[in-house]
Symmetry: C2
Subunit: 214 residues, 2 copies
């Protein structure tokens, strides 16, 4: 029985990694579509989102099945509860990437980012992508140091989020009202993306401080 | 054993109702603070948020304990998994109410809502509060009709969300750039609030179509 459970744990971990990889692809494509007004890439992100949702749902089903059949206790049980939370965060991160892609599509052929903010959003996108890769690394290698790196990236993201508002509110900097709306929404999506990465890393910290996934 | 479990189920349900009641208070006060630039009420919402977080965390602990000690299967297990999701949504709804209160505090003594949008936001606030009460009702009385009512309220909320953007983008309607930012963020908070209410009602639908909570 114990051996079966270990195998199930490994498969759940692999499922989380696979979900995280889809999320990485979503944020990479969304960021590029947003920066370059690439409608084809934006639509690709939007089209792929149901795939992410399906994978998250099937992962949740698997976790629930393990809870029913293996009836884990203590750390193993907490691991299952955490897997549910992590899958919800990964799915939400992919949703946020999709929202960024939707903004790019909405403004196409114009660029959704007003010129004075382009550099800031390029950096925000890079931070999101770095965080996304760190999440995959954390789920795969379970190295506690990765958690600190994710936190640091999120701190920089939060600073940029504040900066976006300052620029949006600088008189005369936004040429059109939609620039203010787009910048506000996009910045909020990036910030929430980072929050979910931190939330996943907190879930992982809980275990790594105690017991390892496999 | 079965009787102990039934008692635990009732207590978890009561915990969810209590959490939902805190969330109702948060959105009621946040909406009033936002509409009337009431800094005292805004700060009250912000101060009470940690209480919501604590209650959600203790509810999750209780659910995890039930999973470990009672090892429920089938519908009872799904109920436990759902309780975790519903508690996360209720906590997030209170967070969104807090964000609305923070916007009111940020702009105090000015009103965060630009005049041309005041009527729309008053309606959005009312819809949120109605949905919040319906969630309490749904958790308490478990009447499947409430789910349809929540969905209808959310549809109206989504329409208003689109309307806010139209108004924000109408040339000359927003006097200051912060009006565009505030209206965009506040509208997004209201929309997400409604999404979480719908998400809770979907979780409840899953059971009520099958088995009742108590």
């Amino acid at each position: 029985m114990r051996q079966v459970f270990q195998q199930e744990l490994i498969e759940i971990q692999e499922g989380l990694v696979e979900l995280a990889q889809l999320m990485v692809r979503a944020i990479e494509n969304a960021t590029e579509a947003f920066a370059g007004s690439d409608i084809v890439l934006a639509e690709k992100v939007i089209e792929h989102d149901p795939e992410v949702d399906r994978l998250a749902a099937s992962l949740d089903e698997r976790v629930t099945k393990v809870l029913a059949l293996q009836q884990p206790v203590a750390t193993d049980l907490r691991l299952m509860v955490s897997a549910l939370r992590m899958s919800a965060s990964l799915e939400r991160m992919a949703d946020l990437a999709q929202h960024i892609a939707q903004l790019a599509r909405l403004r196409y052929p114009e660029n959704a980012i007003p010129e004075p903010l382009r550099k800031t959003f390029t950096r925000m996108g890079k931070l999101d992508i770095q965080m996304a890769h760190k999440i995959v690394e954390l789920l795969e290698e379970q190295n506690i140091d990765t958690i600190v790196e994710i936190r640091d990236l999120d701190d920089e993201l939060d600073e940029l989020h504040t900066k976006v508002f300052e620029k949006v509110l600088t008189a005369g900097l936004m040429e059109k009202p939609e620039h203010a709306v787009d910048a506000t929404l996009a910045s909020r999506y990036h910030e929430r993306f980072g929050d979910h990465a931190v939330s996943i890393s907190k879930q992982m910290h809980y275990f790594l401080a105690g017991q390892r996934l496999s």
